[in-house]
Amino acid sequence: MRLHPVNSKIKFLTLTLFMVTVSACVFAPHAATGTQLPPPAALTPTQPPPAAIPATATVIVSPTPEIAPLPTETGLDPDQWMTWPVIPIVTQHVREIYELGQTLGNNSHAFSILGDCQSTPDTFLGLYVVDEGQYYTLPEDFKETVTYFEESLTRESPTIKPGTTSGALLWVEWHENEYGCENDETPLDCELRINNPSFALITVGTHWEARNDMYMRRIIDALLARGVVPILSTKADNREGDNRLNLETAQLAAEYNIPLWNFWPVTGDLPGRGLYAKDGNEHLGAIYLVDEALDRHRYSALQALDAVWRAVTGQTSEQ
């Protein structure tokens, strides 16, 4: 009987996993050396691989594994946020937030998204899990990141919903009592309780309101108190007219010394910055991302997550 292509693929992957496992057992250094080989890319994630040990290179055993130090400050001026790098600069403070979270029992594989309709799993990072075509075009390091956070990337959650504002994340009714959220629980508190994340990407702001800064501070404070690493982001649109939301976000990133994924420049070369107005929501203006912009949104978010995760865990990325 001819095997179904999927079955063949599973067999092939199983065989590959077996061979890689055997190879790892043969070549792994003794545990007492304090080093370990990274797990095979895109297979079973258990722990983040240690820094700078390529899968096929000769392993150099050092008596004490060293974690690369991180800068204490980003050195970035919030007023110049338009020229900030897309991928966040991660400081020592961020590593300390992460380490606090690990001592508090946060799930190192769990990642939360606080976002609107452009952050749902089927349009955002979840596509890297469910769409093989998207997954296989990724560089190896990013495949590893996707695999490591796989369950989080495909989750529906109380903090992802069309029209979400920073205020909505703090309103106890917004989750409509779904996802196992309690009556008196904000979507943010509910998400932190049920997902227990180590990282949280905050990608609201397109649906801005006047008190965005006040709510963002509450959200960031709640995350920091639980040792969750906040990753802020800028947006591609300028619906408010003077870019003040992106400026505010950069100011918060600088003040709190936390990472910022600078999405704003990513679509700068696309016609209309890659934005359009949606039928039925014309009153909101051109705030929706065209397909090319959505691809870049997804990919640059993964770059940001990868960079922050590897930095706080002392890994280096080949990307």
Binding site: C117, P162, G163, T165, W171, W174, E176, N183, H207, Y215
Partner: protein, 126 residues
């Protein structure tokens, strides 16, 4: 023939017995209407200072979705000298494009406080 006066009499008696719409329940309804209409000024005029933050969170949470009240009616369930508790039925329905959401008001028990003749919404529990 004689039935008509009886029906009229019964209607008048029932109308007289029905509780008048209390100022406290009217205050809650006005608050909800301001929320739905996205009228921040009226909303803030209807709330206690200590409830202002929560009221604004509720207001801002709905800022970018279209909202309307559906079958909303509130009634006072008890009161003392200058405060009252009010329950409501109905819901706030909202839509974002083709997606619809509903926030049920049933089960909310509002605390309303009288201050200088003005009744203010000071929060709710479930």
């Amino acid at each position: 023939m004689k039935k008509i006066p009886h029906v009229l009499l019964l209607t008048c008696v029932l109308a007289a017995c029905a509780p008048a719409r209390s100022p406290a329940s009217a205050a809650v309804e006005k608050y909800l209407q301001a929320l739905s209409d996205k009228n921040e000024e009226i909303l803030l005029d209807q709330v206690c200072p200590e409830y202002e933050f929560d009221a604004l969170v509720e207001f801002d949470a709905l800022a970018q979705v279209k909202t309307k009240l559906k079958d909303v009616s509130c009634r006072q369930i008890d009161a003392d000298e200058n405060s009252a508790r009010v329950t409501c039925v109905g819901s706030i329905v909202s839509n974002y494009g083709s997606e619809f959401f509903s926030y049920e008001l049933g089960g909310r028990i509002y605390t309303v406080v009288e201050n200088g003749g003005h009744w203010l919404v000071c929060g709710y529990t479930r």
